[in-house]
């Protein structure tokens, strides 16, 4: 997933409206057209398998093409480089490529560019952040280093058994097969994630440590190519030989690096910057931003959900009534109205409404504010012993809603509640990973790929990598397995929805709200669209 620690501010958009602005009447961008976009410093080399945050992801999105492309409006997967992805048993897949796709360096995209890139990304000693995306592929385990007794990876003494995954086979230049270790019905949906991008021969020829040289000048097969990357900006130019359907509209995009989103916002107001994807939360109050950016603002529902996780180390939560009481004891609607100026939608379940398979109300009455019932359950559960800490990171603008949350619990349940602000996201993660915290802690999830599965398996399956609350329910796990092996997407979704219902009974986390993204643009632009991944659809830009 991509990490968003910043305040993604949001304005009210009642329905799950997708279209932000229509292109009616605008002139298509003339040649030589250029726009500037707010950017931030990528934390890693610009390589698909090592970029997992928005700063690098936004750029990679524009310069890469993958087997599958997500529709900018609906997030539905559409074949891109792949001509077809075929399977009969959700385990053996045959991928056929469209011929003639070119990398920005002129070489053609072939089957081996995928297979080699994925093997490289999954290979333990290469230490790629996104290597876990290849986990479903057969033979992934053989590419991982052994563990020391202390549970640390030990690549020096216990190197991996293999360098390539047994589940990947090149058939010919334009065909390869994928075998998964267990049935994975939604594999096609996953293949659009950045980690699955192909890499050109130049990538494998790069001998610099961690492929840093390539990471500074990445080559993808996307509609744009990166022409320069400095500490203050990253410049993308239209790739003339781009062969796909998702052509960009403007000729040049400059991502200008901003340290502070307020500065970017102010620059867009003053027309010094053309697009910003973040509106500071204080400007949402009384819709100030819509005044500043009259007729040049937009709101987009994005695949992000915020939750509070019950610490498995806290005995107060052993009683389900206690968890229900807390979830029922605060007014989501009031907080989203007063703190986020109506810019978030109270959650009714654990899955973002933007994805395929979403079903409302999985949380039911547990996510509906009812002070009297909450108080009653709270009393029956015996009350919380001591002060309940609520951990949030201080660098993401989370303190305010957490304060409001605590105040409400104090008023409605009479419990003691204290917001614990860690200096930054890293510190919070460290505490959570070490299970140091009692009480509640914040979790935000931005989807990697638009599937209900991405909101359940990585977070709530037993032993899953992001299962911060150590939730485990065999019935839930069994349903996930069944769903993964389902023959059709609808069948899978129904099973996933049943699994989500179980979360509604067990309440491993408190769903808070779904996030929307606000964005604004300068008078130079007539319209621009944002995707459900909170990136911009540069094919949609219309200039004035």
């Amino acid at each position: 997933m991509r990490v968003t620690t910043r305040v993604v501010a949001v304005a009210a958009l009642a329905a799950a409206g997708l279209m932000v602005s229509s292109c009616s009447g605008g002139t298509p961008a003339a040649s030589g057209s250029a726009i500037t976009v707010r950017g931030c410093t990528p934390e890693n080399p610009l390589i698909g398998t090592s970029t997992n945050e928005v700063c690098g992801g936004n750029v990679l999105d524009a310069i890469t093409a993958k087997l599958v492309h997500y529709n900018a409006d609906t997030a539905a997967p559409e074949l891109d480089i792949a001509k077809s992805i075929e399977t009969t048993d959700a385990t053996n897949f045959t991928v056929t490529l469209n011929q003639g796709y070119k990398f920005a360096d002129g070489t053609e995209v072939k089957a081996k560019n995928f297979v080699d890139a994925w093997n490289w990304g999954a290979y333990g000693p290469n230490g790629q952040l996104n290597s876990y995306f290849f986990e479903p592929i057969a033979g992934y385990a053989d590419l991982q280093c052994g563990m020391t007794a202390a549970g640390e990876s030990d690549c020096e003494n216990q190197p991996p058994k293999a360098e390539t995954m047994s589940g990947l086979k090149v058939v010919d230049d334009y065909t390869f097969t994928i075998t998964t270790s267990s049935p994975t019905s939604n594999l096609e949906v996953r293949l659009g994630y950045t980690a699955f991008m192909p890499q050109p021969d130049a990538f494998f020829a790069d001998t610099s440590e961690g492929k840093k040289a390539f990471g500074d000048a990445p080559i993808g097969a996307g509609p744009y190519k990166l022409t320069s990357k400095t500490d203050t900006e990253m410049v993308l130019e239209k790739f003339a030989d781009y062969s796909g359907k998702n052509t960009g509209s403007v000729d040049k995009i400059t991502f200008r690096i901003y340290n502070d989103t307020n500065a970017a916002y102010n620059d867009v107001v003053a027309n010094n910057l053309d697009v910003t994807d973040v509106i500071p939360s204080d400007q949402l109050v009384d819709d100030a931003w819509k005044t500043d950016l009259a007729d040049r603002n937009g709101v987009r529902d994005t695949g992000i959900i915020q939750v509070l996780t019950f610490s498995p180390k806290d005995d107060n939560f052993k009683n389900t009534k206690m968890r229900d009481a807390i979830s029922m004891g605060f007014d989501r609607a009031l907080i989203t109205k007063q703190i986020f100026a109506g810019a978030r939608t109270p959650a009714t379940g654990w899955v973002s409404p933007v994805v395929d398979g979403y079903k409302a109300d999985a949380c039911g009455e547990n996510c509906t504010f009812d002070a009297a019932k909450a108080k009653q359950l709270y009393t029956e559960a015996g009350g919380y012993k001591g002060t309940m800490p609520v951990y949030v990171n201080g660098d993401g603008g989370h303190k305010l809603w957490a304060d409001a949350f605590c105040n409400q619990l104090q008023q409605n349940l009479g419990m003691k509640c204290s917001v614990e602000v860690t200096p930054d996201f890293k510190t919070l993660r460290k505490g959570i990973n070490a299970r140091e915290y009692k009480g509640l802690y914040r979790g935000g999830w931005q989807m990697d790929y638009p599937s209900i599965e991405n909101f359940l398996t990585p977070i709530y399956a037993t032993g899953a990598s992001s299962n911060d609350g150590d939730y485990s329910n065999p019935k839930f796990d069994a349903l996930l397995k069944q769903a993964a092996a389902a023959k059709t997407n609808d069948e899978a979704n129904t099973l996933y929805q049943q699994a989500e219902e179980i979360l509604g009974q067990d309440m491993p986390t408190i769903p808070l709200w779904y996030q929307q993204s606000q964005f604004g643009w300068s008078t130079k632009i007539k319209s621009i669209k944002m995707t459900p991944f909170s990136t911009f659809d540069f094919g949609s830009v219309v200039l004035n």
């Binding site: 500071p280 204080d282 409001a404």
Partner: protein, 323 residues
């Protein structure tokens, strides 16, 4: 002369302003010259100054506020109805309500304690460390003095704000950290890099007092070094330290606000002006609900002003040349 810092006529190198945190320049090193019945003279001079009475009154009010907030309000600063968030000033809430619906007036009154504690304690701790080490260096001299001076340089060379950030990141507080420990950490972060300022001032001051007749006489009479230092050297070198510390005190209160803005200052349940100001300082909030920023800001400014004015008055009164 072994070192320029010891020069009698040279003002100590005053230090720069660090983005909201100031290392106050010693305004006048010469005020160290001891006068006969200095205290009485100074009192006479101060009594006649209206600035003295204004700043003294303000300081008394703020100290009362810090000690007994209940005298000024009967509202609960933790009573925050969210539905009233950002409400404008009214008969019910004189200063309006903040982002969470808390009463800004009550929170401003209750915020005085943390803010003033940070200012007073930091000024006090820097003074104690600076005077102790400065007196040692200035009185003993030689290699020990050089060592202490260079050590002070090490701390001085690191910008105050950066050091503060590093320390606050290194020692975070959590919910069962006692109130005074939370305050103590902020004080520690500011004091650890702030003391060299006072050190230099004191050292230079001591070096000026040292050769004077009464100190030499006390030594000749066989007074132990401890006695000579405590009863003659220190009392006669303290004036510039007192003056600069009063002024620094205000600057440290403002510094806490900047730390809060960067997300590493005081933390709830401690209430402080710095937190209130930093939370209300978003431009959108200033437009929609300026009262959230203005009232705590005015209180902070008044306090800082009161202490700085007091420092000035004291300095003027202690320095015969300015009278």
């Amino acid at each position: 002369m072994t070192d320029t810092y010891g020069s009698n006529s040279q003002p100590l190198l005053p230090e720069g302003a660090i983005d909201g945190i100031v290392r106050q320049p010693p305004l006048d090193e010469q005020s160290a010259a001891p006068a006969r019945s200095l205290g009485a003279d100074a009192w006479e001079a101060m009594r006649r100054s209206p600035l003295f009475w204004i700043s003294a009154a303000l300081i008394v009010i703020f100290v009362l506020m810090a000690a007994f907030p209940g005298l000024f309000t009967n509202k609960d600063p933790y009573d925050c109805p969210l539905e009233l968030a950002r409400d404008a000033p009214s008969a019910d809430a004189w200063f309006g309500r903040d982002l969470l619906g808390c009463d800004v007036y009550a929170r401003t009154i209750y915020g005085a304690r943390a803010s003033i504690l940070v200012g007073v304690l930091t000024a006090f701790v820097t003074a104690v460390i600076g005077v102790g080490i400065g007196t040692t260096g200035g009185y003993v001299g030689g290699w020990l003095d050089t060592l202490l001076s260079r050590t002070a340089d090490v701390f001085f060379a690191i910008p105050l704000l950066l050091g503060g950030i590093l320390i606050m990141f290194t020692f975070p507080s959590d919910y069962d950290t006692p109130y005074m420990v939370v305050i103590g950490k902020v004080v520690f972060a500011l004091a650890i890099l702030g003391w060299p300022n006072i050190f230099r001032l004191m050292r230079s001051s001591v070096m000026q007092v040292n050769p004077l007749e009464y100190v030499q006489a006390a030594r000749a009479l066989g007074g132990s070094p401890w006695r000579v230092v405590t009863s003659h050297v220190v009392p006669n070198s303290m004036v510039p330290v007192i003056v600069v510390s009063t002024i620094d005190l205000g600057a440290y209160i403002a510094a806490e606000a900047t730390l809060s803005f960067l997300g590493i200052g005081l933390r709830p349940p401690a209430i402080s002006w710095g937190q209130a100001i930093s939370e209300a300082s978003g431009l959108g909030y200033i437009r929609a609900a300026p009262h959230m920023l203005i009232f705590p800001s005015v209180f902070l400014s008044l306090t800082v002003l009161a202490f700085i004015m007091m420092g000035e008055v004291v300095r003027d009164a202690m320095d015969p040349k300015l009278r």
